[in-house]
Symmetry: C2
Amino acid sequence: MHIYDLDTPALVIDLDVLERNIANMAAHCQDLGIALRVHTKTHKIPEIARMQLAAGSQGIVCQKVGEAEVMARAGIRDILIPYNILGPQKLRRLTALARMARNEGHSAITVAADSEETVRGLSAQAAADGATIRVLVEVDTGGGRCGVQTPEAARDLGRLVADLPGLELAGMMTFPSNPRAQPFFDCARDLWARDGLPCEVLSGGGTGLEAVSKELGFTEHRSGSYAYEGLTRIKTSADLTPERCALRVIVTVVSAPTPDRIIIDGGQKTFESYPPKPYGLVVEHPAARIQAMSVEHGHVDVSGCDHRFRVGEKLSVIPLHQGKVTNMHDEVAAARNGEVVCVWDVAGRGKVR
Amino acid sequence: MHIYDLDTPALVIDLDVLERNIANMAAHCQDLGIALRVHTKTHKIPEIARMQLAAGSQGIVCQKVGEAEVMARAGIRDILIPYNILGPQKLRRLTALARMARNEGHSAITVAADSEETVRGLSAQAAADGATIRVLVEVDTGGGRCGVQTPEAARDLGRLVADLPGLELAGMMTFPSNPRAQPFFDCARDLWARDGLPCEVLSGGGTGLEAVSKELGFTEHRSGSYAYEGLTRIKTSADLTPERCALRVIVTVVSAPTPDRIIIDGGQKTFESYPPKPYGLVVEHPAARIQAMSVEHGHVDVSGCDHRFRVGEKLSVIPLHQGKVTNMHDEVAAARNGEVVCVWDVAGRGKVR
């Protein structure tokens, strides 16, 4: 089936582009000499995670316990959830996951923590359930989000993790990787070494910051958005080319009410509503400007196009916010040269907890 | 179970507020003397649609064929899909729906159309499948989206609908209802009457514009967002009060890295990322400002709060974009006085086609 024969709106992945993006990032990290750990939040699809692992990624990242459950059920081991896991429901699911998913004899599940409350909760549940959870101490090195604020606080929390039952101290993590964090990490590593605390893992993150993590002496880097590629790294929509961007939304022209305007059947609930404008690139007609989004309609200014659009015509649009688009759709068709090869469930979608 | 015992992030509806909002809108339309047709896109939940119908709404609106299928399966009849339905897959599903869902002997399915292409597609499929589809001609009266541009074009398209097999001409629709559209409709009605075209329905829309539709002489008005209430009608976030807004997101404080900052476990994939800031109102601590959103983290400035937030604490947040929040979640708990009464599937979510 050709992608234009799909009912719309339909998410489509160009497999050639996806494979190239995956291979390029794997080669980039190999060249740098830093291990890649792929973040799956962009696609939430086990099949793509397996492609990334096959290309050399040493493990994956999930942002939610529910996403990790999906990936573990698909047979994937070595999963990092860089998030403070709190509350009885999530903790029970986390220990169940850690007991099920073993990686060469070790717990395959690592989480981040930045507080005593989180660490004590993890330990109590793991000890009660006979599980072991690997823990990275999260440090704030300028991101202004989660993370302990000083090397001393990192050492203190590391010490607590090392002392508590059910936990295995793995090291530290931060987001995003930041060149100015060198003094912080130098000091923290020194403090950890003096205390004899293990620091097998130093994990940085952010697509495009792989070299920064290497410079900081990290052991691994977390990148995700590169698989589909989009505005996270490509800063101007003019650079969103079909050769670089794997994701498309196939839409139908549902109305052509004036010579200057067409309406497509994808709006905020298909594309996300956050600017910058235009909201996506029309592959077949780059001069068409998606300039406004209603909830279920896209408003396209076609005054710059010679083409006469007809109602019922299909178009391919490269969206700006791949991860957020993915988060609203249950399935995506994988295609090569315009022909649908298979349809993947976005199996991690909706696993909000 | 108390709403604070739900795992987070969790969507919760305050049933008292929902019922009050539904009753108020029903009374408002009754006072005005205009029939209400509720738009279900805000909630996508058949149970709520039934509450709205019980309160006096004469029918419902769905934006997608898939949403209409969900509502029809739940036993709801008289469904308007104010959208140009195109393409063989959707047309086949539409005629199947029209054959299944009958309303007092008539087709229970009405759609909008603004082009000959749409109308001919509807007719061909309906005739082939032995179905009847009711059609409203969509007119553009300043909304700048879909819709024919002149009264004459409305008449011509109405005539075509009336002439083609498988279709039943019901009247006209527009969005949003606009006082300046009076001359357009006066002229269009006149042209239709001269041609003997039926115009049983004149449908306007937009929560808050009920009186405008009445002034224009319309027979019904489509309102949706009033059920949960939010920024569509309440223009400043200061007015997003717990007494008016039915939807909440229960979140957990997952980090309190500095005295001024807490991080909650809801970000762009829970709340939507589009400003204005703050991104929602923290019910328990209105001085807390949700000032930034990462993909899965909410960044809250608590410098204005006396309360000392602790990691693991639960909070209730009124989101700004109810319909878009709903679109990212599979279920919502309905609660009264803080106690969960039941959990509803957001059954229409993800029905993107």
